[in-house]
Symmetry: D2
Subunit: 134 residues, 4 copies
């Protein structure tokens, strides 16, 4: 199954650690967001513009599994993947790596919503971008 992907470099902030001396788990979802935003940039429709055009992409579900802890000052690569085939539910998956070491996996599920919060089909612009992107 063909996938599109994009990544961001993350440097772990002190604020993101907890007293276990590792990154607090909920912060991975913020990193996933950064990778997702980058993915939309790469697709050619930045999320900022998508919202201005009246399309929102809220998170309907999310999950992560943690293999090794990330620590303060780590340089991480967070990559977001989306399948070429778009359905009503948009699934994006994630990998967090520190060099060659896989630290975490994740997934978020989204649906397009209009400004009133009503679920709508993925806009044609979006579907076309995903379908034509190499």
């Amino acid at each position: 199954m063909y996938m599109l992907s994009a990544f961001v470099d993350i440097r772990v902030r002190y604020q993101e650690t907890d007293q276990m001396g590792v990154v607090y788990h909920a912060n991975y979802f913020t990193w996933f967001e950064s990778a997702r935003i980058e993915l939309l940039d790469q697709l050619g429709w930045p999320y900022r513009e998508m919202e201005q055009a009246g399309y929102l992409l809220p998170v309907l579900g999310c999950e992560a599994s943690f293999i090794k802890p990330a620590q303060f000052d780590d340089r991480l690569q967070v990559r977001a993947f989306i399948r070429k085939h778009i359905s009503a539910r948009i699934e994006i998956s994630y990998e967090v790596n520190r060099l060659e070491t896989l630290l975490a996996l994740g997934k978020t599920t989204h649906a397009f919503v209009d400004k009133k919060g009503k679920l709508i089909r993925p806009p044609k612009t979006f579907v076309d971008l995903v379908n034509t992107k190499d």
Copy 2:
């Protein structure tokens, strides 16, 4: 399957909202933490004391699904559930309600770890507390 549970009352903070006008999804995991801490209190072994005794309970995995958005100033009840049967993996599930309305469901998976980060069996104290608690 018999479950133990405990809940916390949450009042949604402005800081927890995002520009969609609803609570940012990652914040639910912090609320789950509050409910989990309360559950351990109710079991009779507060997490603060558990850590001082050398036992850590990191999050190995987490997930949530969002049914309706929580909004600024909402009063929520966040309830954590644990099964009476304890295995090496501790699973805790969560419900977020605003009065009678279910807003979100979640789950976290944990394992006991010692101070060096080595996976260990659930301490007998913990297993006994779960088993004997009504």
Copy 3:
């Protein structure tokens, strides 16, 4: 100088700690927010309603000084104070205590803003509430 005040009880979340084993400093501002929201409740004009009426109260400046660290699971009292005399700039000050121990002091400065972000005078409703409140 006569002051009005209100407080909230805070139980420190694990998420709010960092790897120094204490609360990360920026989190105090979120607690200040909770106390400020409570203060507006006590005044009789909850912030949620104020926003719905078209009045925003953004933070123009903020500061805090930290005397002793707050730690995971601490039960704190965070109190917000406002002077009876209201000018264009609204100043609110804060105290964070753990039982009899003062942990931190803070201040935030606000101005009323309309929905377009334009600075406006404090609405008469607000001034009257502050002036008539015992």
Copy 4:
């Protein structure tokens, strides 16, 4: 007065916004942290190594003033400044800019602390690095 400085590029995260549609004020302190960490890197003693050597640099006080709001997806430059003259209290100041537009100013005050939390003089290594750095 001669200053040393360093900066980081920040791209505003959706998570950092609130329902006013701008960045929540407390998040600036996390950005200040990133700039401060970069400053210590440039000085030649990264904070990660400083902690491993037994020196902590907690925040004793912090403040910020907000001139214009930062918004989702903004590209910001956050710069930290430290004076060449080091005393027991380390003061670091900050500027947040979006291109040529100044968005915010800030300051944090720190003191060196050993692993037991006792206040200590700035280590000679640190003072020398600041004094000899161009």
